[in-house]
Symmetry: C2
Subunit: 431 residues, 2 copies
């Protein structure tokens, strides 16, 4: 793990937009599903997933969903239940009510807050199928009150046998019972436009490969989409009160995700930097995923030594990391200075996996420096607001002239007249 | 205004993504400004705006801003102040606090809510420069607590003399004092990447022509952007208690915006439909912008007769209009059934211009059917959230095994070890 200067270090990497060929392939898939519905869906599933299905087999049955429970350990079910309860409880606190402001002139102004009606969650196949991600995508939607949450996932994430039973159990525990065995760009197109078997949704979320990401971009506007995640990142801000073995373990837990993942130590202590560097090497060699972690550490890992915790925080604010751990003497005395970080883990015991799996806040967090302007997934991502204006006659008579002045200033005489016609009639009626 | 059947009517229109030539032109402009800074900015300003500037003249001076007040009527300043006060007061009610959940085991979980640090507002030139839009973009950011709000606008929106003084007064009243005379894709690039004269921002909002829209899409990810608005729409839901002259005036106030604007009447009364149709024709011919309004009414206007208010509301929900007026006997008894509408105007006196200029809620509202999943601009568009996890030792000892089980199930041994190393050390220490 190399020591670098704070000055030129940046977490941001080029965002991948796919090759022209990939974009064209995705556009063709989306168009075909939009036009042909199930027929195209089944054709692409045979072509890309090597699975021949009929339309009536697309949906996972109640029996399969129940059967998944027999294929997983009871301890897993219990763990998922405990995690789901925590995630549900945290997200419930984010929920807001519609509100109204009652003006003295009788007018009512407000915001009506409603859940989206139907949300689609994409769950990728293979090793990227994480039960924890199912919880993190589904539960906020459910807490928001979304009445229909539907899941799509490639037909054989669990090998030839079908969908990974751990994914099915996580889905059932999160409260999803409408699941389709379809993946890739074709699944995204089906969610956006609907087919004979799959009703269209209002929003699509969940991670996927480049084809899924491009398909989401392609259908954006027809439906809402979540933001497309970059490689994962952690910055640990530590002083010499921290345990270098803990810090090293946390850095490596990030590095093992992906060769592109980034794990950064920012510390006010040269000695701690060196101890931590040694610990990373020691622990790295014992990791099952050491090849991935090693490349991540080599290419995107770094140790930045700063003069003070305040200087460290200004480095953090510039980097705007997805995850920030503050393992310093008094983290609560410094957290208020952190401007840009997706999720902040404070103190010795708040190892990042606590948040990845269990504590309650969402683990889908802005990457690639976008914590400067965006936020972890939460209930707000599954609601929509409508403004409400119930203007009183008194208010209109009082303010009509001012409204007309502003409208005429903008050259919108029709706007002014919509007010004037009422003032003329109602003003007279009122006298 | 043609009568149509509800069944096949749709508000959604194709979204414009620009020609390949326009996209390429924008990419080149953005790249040049990113690489060359002010030099490119000044070059493009000369090329596109026919205005030769030097870097030290980019920023509007305090004197110019003050001078603008001498060029506008006092009544305009008063009207803008009254509108700004209402908008500020409404948006202040949207504001949320950071919050914390204190768990019995000593853990603290929460969401830290902070304003963005620096926001750029684009104000288009010519007739599209609306003082009301300046208020609607700036005030929510200001209420959110954004410390730096900067405006960019083409150098001669007010003709050869410089920037339209009404825009400058609106900006000053909204609280913006950092204004640059630069427009087009080059202004967007400057806000995203920064130049010698203009510091980069975290988010860019405000309407613009196709080049501005494409430039915003181009820099999205480097900064946040607002959503790109389609043509404006209104649906009026009326029964025969409504005044056809009022309804016609409101429909026309929408139609005069733009030839692409859409004004729809949904009514449960055939007689009312016919009266309203006649009124639209009558009033249309008296409008200064009748050519625009006429094309809008012809191409995108419609009257839909339904059997009942409930059927009308289901049409509204399918259309998901930007603006909905409910001019029916008891609007409050029906508003709860409206699922999809950006802004809802209730009763006889809530003519849409009341909301466009004055009442308080934002006039930047989702168009093109996107009210199904998106919301009017509000304070939430100018904040970011960070999750906070301060896990206690007790909580970690209690839940560590469960977290490890979930991590190992996902094949992420490094995640499990970050917990295990603590359990091993702290567990012992605790006993």
């Amino acid at each position: 793990m190399k020591m670098v200067s704070a000055r030129h270090f940046d977490l941001r990497r080029e965002v991948e937009y796919g090759s022209p060929e990939q974009n064209e392939a995705v556009q063709n898939i989306v168009k075909a599903v939009k036009q042909e519905g199930d027929a195209a869906l089944l054709r692409f599933t045979e072509q890309f997933d090597r699975t021949r299905l009929t339309a009536d087999k697309l949906r996972v049955t109640k029996e399969e969903l129940q059967g998944a429970y027999d294929q997983v350990e009871t301890s897993f079910v219990e763990a998922i239940r405990a995690a789901a309860a925590n995630i549900r409880s945290f997200h419930a606190k984010e929920k807001r009510n519609s509100w109204m402001d009652l003006q003295p002139d009788g007018s009512l102004l407000g915001q009506i807050i409603r859940p989206l009606k139907r949300v689609g969650v994409y769950v990728p196949g293979g090793k990227a199928a994480y039960p924890s991600s199912v919880l993190m995508n589904v539960i906020p939607a459910q807490v928001a009150g979304v009445p229909e949450i539907v899941m799509v996932t490639p037909p054989a994430t669990g090998g030839k046998e079908g969908i990974d039973p751990y994914i099915l159990v996580a889905a059932a525990e999160a409260g999803v019972h409408e699941i389709y065995r379809v993946g890739g760009a074709q699944a995204i197109a089906a969610l956006a436009y609907g087919t004979e078997s799959i009703k269209p949704v209002d929003k699509i979320c969940g991670p996927g490969n480049i084809y899924v990401a491009l398909a989401k971009r392609e259908v954006y506007g027809v439906v809402d989409i979540d933001s497309i995640a970059g490689p994962s990142e952690i910055v640990v801000l530590a002083d010499d009160t921290a345990d270098p073995a803990y810090v090293a373990a946390d850095l490596l837990s990030q590095a093992e995700h992906d060769e592109m993942a980034s794990a950064i130590l920012v510390t006010s202590s040269q000695r701690f930097a060196e101890e931590c560097q040694a610990e990373v090497l020691r622990q790295l060699h014992l990791l099952p995923r050491r090849e991935i972690a090693e490349k991540s550490i080599e290419n995107y890992g770094a140790i930045i030594v700063v003069d003070s915790i305040d200087e460290g925080i200004s480095v953090v604010n510039r980097l705007a990391p997805e995850h920030l751990e503050m393992m310093i003497a008094e983290p609560m005395a410094h957290v208020g200075k952190v401007e840009n970080a997706g999720a902040i883990f404070l103190g010795t015991y708040s190892s990042e996996p606590v948040g990845d799996y269990f504590a309650g806040p969402n683990h889908i967090i802005p990457t690639n420096g976008t914590a400067r302007f965006s936020s972890p997934v939460d209930v707000d991502d599954f609601i929509k607001k409508s403004s409400m204006i119930y203007y009183s006659k008194e208010a209109l008579l009082q303010n009509g002239e001012t409204i007309m002045e502003l409208a005429r200033r903008e050259g919108l005489e029709g706007h002014a007249r919509a007010i004037e016609i009422r003032l003329n009639k109602e003003g007279k009626a009122g006298n």
